[in-house]
Every structure is written in structure tokens, then in C-alpha cells.
């Protein structure tokens, strides 16, 4: 009697889901089950991949079998009348920072949070939530893994952009799809009627008035065919999403400072030096996925 001790290997059998995968350009990962593969395939239609910043995050996240998750929900604290304590609240995640605004219109920042520095207290999601809650002006609720790096939240903000909303033939009192419009970001394109913006709703011919809070446009005439409006609006209950895939622009001055030590050259200008601890960590992580020779 002979005993052979052997280690099994995964063997995938091509089935109908793989056919769908061929059509959608998304092959099955090694050892991926039908149920998990189906969700990734469905995701192709929702989180469209592309060469844009967002498209890269969506595409790479999916192709690696990782997932996009809701990280935190951030809301401004309101007074007794339901008015935010800050003048015009907004939350912006940009590069290595998270900005909490006191007044987004005047670009007055309440707090700038560094998400890269391990010792700054906002390196992980739990720390980020605690930091935001400590302001007293905003509240944050954690959804994801509290130990997830907060830099997994990609560039996004609580200010939404509508590039083209049709207002043709919608009457003289036009309710837009969103409220709390950001003043100074609203532009109207109308073939013949809406030409001048009025500061009050006492309108003359071809004038219009905008009530930003209620998202209403009052016009002297009904907008003609082809009338559109472009604007930004505030999302007061903002849920930031995160992905384990973090994309940063190496040309970003802010990001470079996090990755490399700054050295002052003979002219007094700051130049990039050796990788920082974090930079070395990220570089090693990259090399572990795709080994190569540094510098080649």
C-alpha cells in the first residue's frame, strides 16, 4: 500500500458566466466563484472603467476583485432652525487632504485634515471620523472598517456638479433637480430669453432670478427650446466612498512631499530626496505586486 500526499490546485471550468466575462472584457479571477464573479460583471455596467481618474479606480478595483465601499457619512451640524452652524458647508477630499469648509463660497476652510500622516490622528477611518466629530461643526458616521486607511477615500466632494439640466418649456417658475445651489456656479444657456440675471424677483423682460436655497429659477418668460442650466449644488448628507485602490498623481506637489524627503538645494529651492517612511512603504507594496528592479 502506497500513500501519496498531494496538494490540490484550483481548476476553473469555463461556463456561461465566463462567456459574459468575455463580452464585458472581465475575465474570472483565479478561484473566483460564480456568485462573486457575477457581482463583478454586474459592476461593469455601474462603475464604468476608463482612463479618467474615476475610471481607473473603478476599473482597477473591479479587475483585482476588490470592492468599493461606503466609508463615512459626513453632515454639517444644524442649529435649532435647521440651519448649518457653518456658513456654507462642504467637504472635499483632494489628494492627501480632507477639507472641511466654513464657507465653501469664499473658500474659507474650517479644518484641513492630513490623511497621510500616521501620527496626525486621521490616518485611518476611525481617526478621521473622530477628528471630524471633534470640530463640533460637522458629524461623521463610520460605515467601513475603522482600521482602513482614510486615504482610501478617493478625490470627491460634497459639492455636486450638474453639467446640463434641461429647463426648456418648464414654465416661468422652474424647480431644478437640486436645492442649495452654490452661488457663482450657475450659468444658464438659453437661445432667446434668459439673458440677464436679476438681483430680485421683480423681473424685466429677458431677466431671470435664482433662489439658490430652494433651487428655483424665476424667469420673465418661459425658457425656449434648448435652454439648459449648469450649476453646482451642496449635498448636506454626504457619503464618501473608498477603494483599496489609491491613485495619486506623481506630479502633484502635495503628494510628492508625502512620498519623498524634501532637501534644500544650494539655490535654496526644495528638491525631492529619499523616499519617506510612507513612500518606502508604498514603493515596497508596489514592488511586491510587480517585482522589478528599482530605477530601471
Amino acid at each position: 500500500m502506497t500513500t501519496y500526499n498531494l496538494t490540490p490546485t484550483v481548476h476553473a471550468v469555463f461556463n456561461e458566466l465566463d462567456s459574459h466575462g468575455l463580452l464585458l472584457g472581465l475575465p474570472r479571477l483565479v478561484g473566483e466563484t460564480n456568485a462573486a464573479y457575477k457581482q463583478r460583471l454586474m459592476d461593469v455596467m455601474v462603475h464604468r472603467a476608463g482612463s479618467s481618474y474615476q475610471g481607473l479606480i473603478y476599473g482597477i478595483t473591479r479587475e483585482l476583485g476588490l470592492s468599493i465601499t461606503d466609508a463615512v457619512t459626513i453632515e454639517p451640524v444644524l442649529d435649532g432652525d435647521g440651519i448649518p452652524l457653518v456658513t456654507f458647508p462642504a467637504v472635499v477630499f483632494q489628494d492627501t487632504k480632507c477639507f472641511l469648509y466654513e464657507n465653501y463660497i469664499t473658500e474659507t476652510v474650517l479644518l484641513e485634515i492630513d490623511r497621510f500622516e500616521q501620527l496626525d490622528g486621521s490616518f485611518n477611518l476611525q481617526g478621521l471620523v473622530d477628528t471630524i466629530n471633534a470640530t463640533g461643526m460637522y458629524t461623521a458616521v463610520l460605515h467601513g472598517n475603522p482600521l482602513m486607511r482614510s486615504l482610501c477615500i478617493w478625490n470627491q466632494s460634497s459639492v455636486g456638479l450638474i453639467t446640463s439640466e434641461n429647463i426648456s418649456n418648464t414654465g416661468i417658475r422652474i424647480r431644478l433637480a437640486h436645492t442649495n445651489l452654490v452661488p457663482g456656479t450657475i450659468s444658464i444657456e438659453s437661445p432667446n430669453l434668459l439673458i440677464r440675471k436679476s438681483s430680485s424677483n421683480n423681473l424685466q423682460s429677458q431677466e431671470y432670478f435664482i433662489d439658490e436655497t430652494s433651487g428655483t429659477i424665476i424667469s420673465a418668460q418661459v425658457p425656449a427650446d434648448g435652454s439648459i442650466v449648469r450649476y453646482k449644488y451642496r449635498i448636506d448628507s454626504f457619503t464618501a466612498q473608498a477603494s483599496p485602490i489609491i491613485i495619486h498623481n506623481l506630479q502633484s506637489a502635495d503628494f510628492k512631499k508625502k512620498m519623498f524627503e524634501l532637501v534644500t538645494d544650494s539655490d535654496g529651492n526644495e528638491q525631492l530626496g529619499l523616499p519617506t517612511e510612507l513612500g518606502a512603504d508604498v514603493i515596497n507594496e508596489l514592488l511586491s505586486i510587480y517585482p522589478t528592479n528599482w530605477g530601471q
Binding site: 498531494l6 466563484t33 460564480n34 460583471l41 454586474m42
Partner: protein
């Protein structure tokens, strides 16, 4: 032999009076049923492939990931040389190890993919996930409350919703030549994260599954439905019998496609599995406000030791004819839902072709302790009956005669069939040869009933009928009492994963495991369903 729904569909070719169409014990029906196997397989394959065409309906139980080991080049299978002409290679003894736990891996009996994967029976289970603090029962309201702004989150984070409408009288209305259909529109965020909507049409009172997988429903709108109709929204299908058959391929003998359902019931105090249909096979009648259902056939539910299984809920496995039934004490039973042809074909051979007599009955597929009631009937009264006798054979082989052709269900044990006491003499020309006879069927299996009639010209006709007490025994029984001792319901989720709900309201995802292997004797490869850390192959 299994009885296939497609057999009835084929039998519909024949006229409505033909025995082949109305009697599943007729010779013609048996012949068609032999073809039925292949047509049924084709029907189901086409149905499955049709659903596999779309991502939203694809079968997630399709064979996907196997684990294999390549045996060494010098490995030789043991050989059985019992047949000197054809030597048979024998499967090796294999043990698989997961976290140092050893599992004996059985070779698949037929060594083909269909049995290894699609028809496999799990031999053990494990607890995968426990979900607490959520509820799949989400909302109940009346149609008049529509539209509703809601926040109905799927209790598992995403999947199908179930919508049930009850209490209405008519859901389809034609007014001034225009058709109004009761509709429910769901809006919300799909499981994939997309804002979307879905319209469900309710032709009559029914329960429907959403076609899309939803994460959260945010708005419900109802149109053209009676205001008093009660609408129930759930994200699971626990304890909501009856359940629509997975292939739903049955036909009535009026050439009409019918919906069939499965549920749990009780007959003569015995727990049963019930095949259920609408009382009418005409959708027009159902839509007119008559959606009542009836039990078409019942099977007594038994365990391996012939003890009754008192199921509290069942769930049907997608793309299969199998169901999991759970009992309150933490047992899971896996049953095959197939219907069977009668097996006593040799007995039926003794029937007189074109007989002038028959047994008139309502149902002959019963449950133990039910009474088989029939009337001996002179269906073609061309000549007088001189004498007749009625006798039957129980599944145990015992023969019984109906004494004096009595109208009372008096069976006399121990009478030989030839015993003159059971012959009833006397010329008669009535359509009813004897009064109604009732026989309580106390054994499990097939009863052979015979009506023998001698006509005045000496010609003898025999009518033979098999009455059957139906039962089902499980393919496998698994125990979940270690982590869920008090089960209250069972369901498959949209990922085709099995879930249990406990009385305390917790949800448990069950992992089913198959310690089985497929062997490629030529290439010396073993394929497993389970991902073992390593295996010992002993030869």
C-alpha cells in the same frame, strides 16, 4: 421510473377521451414517458440556458471552480480483474484535509460531471455567516397608501425582494375597451449601486419576486389596483408557502399550461409534502378573481428510519427538482421532488384491453391511512354481467377480497383469490356494478386492485388499477442544531446560498459540502469539489 411533465404535454396530442391522455397508468402513457425523459431534459436545459443568457438570471450553481491533483506518473490504479475480458480500474482511497480535519472523499458512483456536480448530494454542512439585528419582513400596507417614500433595506445588504398582494378581487380590468393592469413600481438603489426602477404586474392575487436585485427600495408606487389590496414587501421568502415550482413546466389534461407550487401539509395526521395548483387551469378564470389553490398530490414525509418528518418550512433549489425541508429541532432534509410512475407494470399487464368495465375513483395517489374509494362501473354496457369479484393485493403481498362486493368497506383477510366467497353472482345490466367501495390503505407502497367480471356469454373482463400510498424519503439529512437549535424558516438567497432563520430572528448562512471526487483514469487526475489543503491518496 420518474414521471415527467413533458409526458402529459405529449399526451395532449390525443383526444380528450383517450386513456393515454387521462390515465398515467395506461400503456400509451408509459411509452410516452420513456420519451418524456429526453424531452424533459431538453426542456429544462433550454430553460436553464435561456436564463443563463442574462446576467441577472444566470444559474450560479453552474460548475465553476474545481480542485485537482495530478497523480504521479508512476501511479497505478488498482484493477478489478473479475471480468477476464474487461479489467476495471478502481478508485483509490482518498482523504482530504482542511485545517488538519480529515474527510474521506468518495468517488462519484457514475464518474460523470452531471452526477458529480449538478445532481450531487452534500454530505456535510458548515456555518458560513450569522446575521443578526435585521428582519426580512419589511413593510405591509394597503394600495390606497401609495405612493410611499420608504427606506427598505435588504436584510442581507442586497438581493431579491418579494412582493405579495392579497385581498383584492380583480387585478385586471377592461373598461371601455382599455385594459388596466394592477402594477407596482419599485424605485431605489440596486445591489450594484445604480438608481433604478422596476415594474411588477399583478394579474391576480399572488406573490412575486423582483427581477432585479435591490440594495434599498426608496419609493413604492401602485397603479390600477383596488385600494383595499394589502401589499407585503419582504427581502426573504421564509415561511411563505406555497413556493412556485422551479421549472414550472406542468400541463393540465386540457392542454393548458398550469402553475404548480410546493407546500407542506398534513393528511390523516401525517406530515406531507404537497404539490399544489390553482383550482382552475384557465388563467382567465383565475384573473376573474378565483385564485384559490388545491392540493394535487401529497407525499408523506419520512426520514431514513421511516419516521415522520414534521417540516416547518421548505425551500426549492434553483434549477433543480429538489427541496430542503427543515424541522423545528434543527434538522435539514433534502428531498427529490420528482413524481414517479407506478412500478407494478407487470400487474397492469393482466388488464383486458378495451375492457367494458372500469373502476371509477377520484384519486388513487394517496397517503397511508387514507381511504381509496371507488365504484365498479359498467362503462360499456353491451351485455349483462353474470358475476363479478373485487380483490386487491397490499404492498406486503397479502391478498384481500371484498366480501359480497359489499358497499361497506369490509375486507376479509386470508381469502384466497379463487375463494368462491368473494364472487358475487347475479345477472345485472346496471351501470353501477356494485356500490361504492372504500378501502383504507394502511401500508406504504402500491396496492393492486382488480375487478373481474364474467358476462353472460362467459367472456371475462379484468380491470386493474394501482392505488398508491405516496411517500418521500430524504436524499440526505443534515444537522444544524449545534448552532441553530430552533429553526423557524429556510430560504435560498439571490446568490443561491442556503439560509436558515431561527426563532430568535437570527439568520444563518449554511455552506453545503461535497466530499466527492471525479477521476480521470487516463490522465491520472483527481478532481474535487472541496478545496482541501492537501490530500492523501492511498493505493
Amino acid at each position: 421510473m420518474k414521471k415527467y411533465p413533458s409526458t402529459q404535454e405529449m399526451a395532449e396530442i390525443f383526444p380528450s377521451w383517450a386513456k393515454i391522455r387521462n390515465d398515467d397508468q395506461s400503456t400509451g402513457y408509459s411509452i410516452l414517458n420513456a420519451l418524456g425523459y429526453h424531452i424533459d431534459k431538453m426542456d429544462k436545459t433550454l430553460a436553464k440556458q435561456g436564463q443563463n443568457t442574462f446576467l441577472s438570471t444566470v444559474n450560479l450553481d453552474e460548475i465553476d471552480i474545481l480542485h485537482k491533483v495530478q497523480l504521479p506518473v508512476d501511479f497505478e490504479f488498482s484493477v478489478d480483474n473479475t471480468d477476464p475480458i474487461f479489467a476495471v480500474q478502481l478508485p483509490p482511497t482518498v482523504s482530504g484535509y482542511i485545517d488538519s480535519d480529515a474527510y474521506l472523499v468518495q468517488p462519484d458512483r457514475t464518474n460523470n460531471i452531471e452526477e458529480f456536480w449538478y445532481n450531487a448530494i452534500p454530505n456535510r454542512l458548515s456555518l458560513q455567516t450569522t446575521v443578526t439585528g435585521v428582519d426580512h419582513n419589511l413593510l405591509t400596507f394597503v394600495a390606497n397608501d401609495s405612493p410611499l417614500e420608504v427606506e427598505l433595506e435588504h436584510h442581507l445588504g442586497g438581493g431579491y425582494f418579494w412582493i405579495e398582494c392579497t385581498g383584492g378581487s380583480q387585478y385586471l380590468l377592461v373598461e371601455n375597451g382599455e385594459l388596466f393592469r394592477a402594477r407596482i413600481i419599485l424605485r431605489g438603489i440596486t445591489r450594484a449601486g445604480l438608481e433604478d426602477s422596476e415594474t411588477l404586474v399583478f394579474p391576480w392575487e399572488m406573490k412575486q419576486r423582483s427581477n432585479k436585485e435591490w440594495k434599498v427600495i426608496t419609493k413604492i408606487e401602485i397603479f390600477d389596483m383596488e385600494p383595499s389590496v394589502q401589499v407585503n414587501i419582504r427581502s426573504g421568502n421564509f415561511n411563505e408557502e406555497p413556493y412556485l415550482d422551479q421549472y414550472n413546466a406542468r400541463y393540465s389534461n386540457n392542454r393548458r399550461k398550469i402553475d404548480s407550487f410546493w407546500g407542506l401539509g398534513e393528511v390523516e395526521g401525517r406530515p406531507t409534502l404537497d404539490l399544489i395548483t390553482y383550482q382552475s387551469d384557465e388563467w382567465e378564470t383565475i384573473a376573474a378573481g378565483f385564485p384559490d389553490k388545491q392540493v394535487l398530490q401529497s407525499w408523506e414525509l419520512l426520514d431514513e428510519n421511516n419516521l415522520p418528518v414534521s417540516g416547518i418550512d421548505l425551500t426549492l433549489q434553483r434549477f433543480s427538482e429538489r427541496a430542503w425541508i427543515t424541522t423545528g429541532n434543527g434538522k435539514l432534509y433534502y428531498y427529490d421532488l420528482s413524481e414517479d410512475m407506478v412500478s407494478g407494470v407487470n400487474f397492469l399487464n393482466g388488464k383486458t384491453p378495451g375492457s367494458h368495465i372500469n373502476l371509477d375513483y377520484n384519486s388513487r395517489y394517496l397517503v397511508v391511512d387514507e381511504t381509496f374509494t371507488f365504484t365498479p362501473w359498467h362503462s360499456r354496457p353491451l351485455k349483462e354481467v353474470a358475476k363479478y369479484r373485487i380483490w386487491y393485493q397490499a404492498p406486503s403481498g397479502s391478498l384481500y377480497g371484498i366480501q359480497n362486493g359489499s358497499s361497506v368497506a369490509t375486507t376479509v383477510s386470508g381469502l384466497a383469490v379463487d375463494n368462491p366467497k368473494i364472487w358475487v353472482e347475479g345477472r345485472q345490466f346496471a351501470r353501477t356494478i356494485a356500490d361504492k367501495v372504500s378501502v383504507q390503505l394502511t401500508e406504504r407502497g402500491e396496492y393492486f386492485f382488480v375487478l373481474e367480471t364474467v358476462f353472460i356469454d362467459g367472456e371475462t373482463h379484468e380491470e386493474r388499477v394501482i392505488a398508491k400510498t405516496c411517500y418521500k424519503k430524504p436524499l440526505v439529512t443534515l444537522d444544524v442544531s449545534s448552532f441553530c437549535p430552533e429553526v423557524s424558516g429556510i430560504d435560498f438567497d439571490s446568490d443561491q446560498k442556503l439560509w436558515l432563520q431561527s426563532i430568535s430572528g437570527n439568520y444563518y448562512q449554511i455552506g453545503l459540502h461535497y466530499d466527492t471526487m471525479l477521476i480521470d483514469y487516463t490522465k491520472k487526475v483527481l478532481y474535487f469539489r472541496e478545496g482541501y489543503d492537501n490530500v492523501d491518496v492511498i493505493v
